[in-house]
Symmetry: C2
Subunit: 483 residues, 2 copies
């Protein structure tokens, strides 16, 4: 009997897909990776996931989990493996408002969790563009980030408990609701961010927080990145840590924005070096109930703080949003990043993390290097500056693979030298395997191989992802990124 | 050559201790475990730790790390192993105030880190009684908790990066300063809380936070535990999450307090069922600068909130600290826990974690069980209620081992049934090995064994701790706790 024949009685014919029915699973959403799965299995319960994994193991067929298919690294690509879709594990099992937690299955769409929390005046503080498609299993498996990390942390910080199907089909029950638990090794964090290479996450206990009742938003011009970091710390001190977003858009970003989206406007034409989008948010009524004068104390607090910082010369200019329309206009400039980034081809993009005080060093050093390697190349820089997370894109004009590699190496050289990471929030998948081989501490890499071998000795869980092979450079099956 | 003979040229004679010189290392601070180490090695650098571990491995001698020796579980006990003291790794390598982090070695005393942070207006938010002796390596290895966990998390949440000497003497450099890093498996969290069984932590990058500028403290009487949880959520909502401590002292605690420390007073003699100590803290000037009326806005906020909650009947009575003396008096009642707990022997103590909304269920169920097992036994209950962390002690009168075991089993039965943990913040060491064997999910336990075997195949890193042997009940070398 083939694996497919074994799966049909287990899951039912409609939940074992082959041929053209696999199309929307086999290709990643960016269209960079087109795989050829053996089949797509859609188990409807943890027990069915476990039985599916067990059957695949019996047949020695790799299992590749897929949930919302919104990843950016080819982590769900497979030739011949079984794609295991968690989309039918879509129950929000429970929301416990008093304990501020939600018990959810891996196929729950992020925005559904947002809605369920909102019904109780609560918020699940993980927020990014793909929230209408991304699912809990995927955000856990990639330790997804987004625009609230500065305040609430990445996915890892929001997870209390996990349920995982192990490579041999056993179910590991770590569905803890506890805020303290020192009973042995921290297994939970091993599976978060492992991209399905150690097991398949089927359910989780996620933290909820009180929903912010008000936001105050401003666009600022600062003189320099060190000033920007000082500004962030001063804003945190003045507000008691209420900063939710601190986004950086320098001159190259503004130049491209002006060209591609002139309708959005340039906030400070005379001060383009360092434009910042700042947002604070509060739950406390003292900051969120309108004053007798009809103003919002939170906005007053932001305004007073910015006035003080402007007096000190730390801010060159500032605009405060006075309406939701103005707030939306400010965010529109930041959220145009994907659109204006993709407006020019070929594009070499990156997702790097740096120590907070090293972002300027990176930008100071990469400029002259690029001038040597790719003279005249345009760049576009945008950052979650409060997290040290930089999306730095290079547009070399010339689409040759050799130039592409030279630019990536130059970026990685400086990032590594500054103690940064080549992957901040998107993960490794296939697209960063070569970076892992080149840049990861060899002892760390070796330990990862030891763990993978110990937990998945048959190498059947999403094989070939995250950890590069030991002695050979991995092949990236992505379409040529310079095309 | 013996291991000792090999170590002397490496570390120098003064740093290889034997005989009576080992006394203060060989015995845990509570005096529960008296070991007989082969020797105590005191390496002065990471390289020396690595060389020491390598030498011990060559000699097939176990290595047991020890730092401040303030643990409560016998985790540094050894018969014949090499105690490796990290006390000479005591440098604060760097404090980076702009990035809000400190780079510290494993032998740095917690209160020294507090002082170094304070020099920059910052705070390292891990705070417990033994802070004057406990060292960074130990708090990381046990994932220590304490009284600020509600606001800032356990040690795990405060660590950005680690340096670890692996069982084969290699140095694993995870000294990241990054707030986002998705480049492969989360190795850091595997070593935090592993109690030295997977490697020896030699240095870390720790997060700092702005130092609170003001505190507001109150003692409350609530009607019930469900009301107390509602109170906590309402206080968090009203203050925007400023609650730093939410401590629970019920009637049995007050009864013992009144008897042993009558000088401290009973705050609400008529309402003893549920006394709470609440503290909020703020950094924002708007809450911490004195008003024209000479009051503190933070105190006003707490007072207004409590008045509202009293109107609603959620609070039966309240006292607000009007001076540092009054604040200290409130804390003295809570901090008397150790003294009043130890005032009666024999004592059966516990360190349990429960889901936040299950603390009441535990107390409701344990009462009748104890009445069956140990009729007339006194109890003393005190909790970090905001963390679901209960220190529940039983004084059975009768000191028999059989009764001791029956009480522990009864507590563990209910804790397990409610999804709790038998170890909230103290770890496992030797004293909770039997609980691990009885109560930990067997799949989780098996996975821990797999990890231990993979990383430390010779079983030389703090062997016999954390993970119980597979088929036999472990012997606890502690002195009889009922004595």
């Amino acid at each position: 009997m083939s694996l497919i024949q074994d799966l049909i009685p287990l899951l039912g014919q409609p939940h074992v897909l082959t041929g053209p029915d696999m199309a929307r699973y086999a290709r990643d959403w960016m269209g960079g990776y087109q795989g050829t799965p053996l089949a797509v299995a859609r188990p409807g319960s943890t027990a069915e996931v476990a039985a599916t994994v067990k059957l695949a193991a019996d047949h020695n067929i790799p299992v590749i989990p897929i949930s919302g298919n919104t990843g950016l690294t080819g982590a769900t690509y497979t030739e011949g493996g079984l794609l295991l879709s968690t989309e039918r594990l879509n129950r929000i099992r429970e929301v416990r408002p008093a304990s501020r937690l939600a018990i959810v299955e891996a196929g729950v769409i992020l925005s559904h969790l947002h809605d369920a929390a909102a019904d109780h005046g609560l918020y699940f503080p993980l927020w990014f563009g793909a929230r209408g498609s991304a699912m809990v299993g995927g955000v856990l498996s990639t330790n997804a980030g987004g625009s609230n990390v500065l305040r609430y942390g990445s996915t890892r910080a929001l997870c209390l408990g996990l349920e995982v199907v192990l490579p041999d089909g056993r179910v590991l029950n770590l569905m803890s609701e506890l805020h303290k638990d020192n009973s042995g090794y921290d297994l939970k964090n091993l599976f978060i961010g492992a991209e399905g290479t150690l097991g398949i996450i089927t359910a989780a206990v996620m933290k909820l927080v009180p929903a912010p009742r008000a936001h105050a938003t401003a666009t600022l011009a600062a003189r320099s990145l060190p000033d920007a970091l000082e500004l962030l710390n001063r804003l945190q001190a003045a507000t008691g840590g209420l900063v939710e977003a601190f986004e950086y858009m320098p001159a190259d970003y503004m130049a491209r924005l002006e060209r591609v989206r002139p309708d959005l406007g340039i906030p400070f034409p005379a001060h383009r070096a360092c434009t910042l989008l700042v947002e604070i948010a509060a739950t406390a009524p003292a900051l969120t109930a309108e004053t007798a004068q009809g103003t919002l104390p939170l906005t007053d607090l932001l305004e007073d703080t910015l006035a003080q910082l402007m007096d000190e010369g730390l801010i060159l200019d500032a605009q405060i949003a006075r309406s939701t329309t103005q707030r939306a206009a400010m965010w529109a400039r930041r959220e145009a990043a994907a659109e204006i980034g993709a407006a020019v081809k070929p594009m070499i993009d990156s997702d790097i993390a740096l120590p907070l005080d090293k972002v300027e060093s990176f930008l100071t050093r990469i400029g002259p290097r690029l001038a040597q390697i790719a003279p005249g190349a345009e760049t576009v820089t945008v950052a979650h500056l409060g997290d040290g997370n930089l999306h730095f894109s290079v547009y070399p004009g010339d689409p040759s693979k050799a130039l592409y590699d030279r630019v990536i190496h130059a970026i990685e050289d400086i990032v590594q030298d500054l103690g940064g990471s080549f992957s901040a929030e998107h993960g490794v998948g296939l697209s960063k395997l070569n970076s892992m081989a080149r840049r990861k501490d060899p002892v760390a890499l070796d330990l990862m191989r030891t763990l993978k071998q110990a937990i998945d000795p048959a190498n059947l869980m999403n094989p070939g992802k995250v950890i590069p092979p030991k002695n050979t450079a991995p092949e990236d099956p992505a379409k040529d990124p310079t095309e």
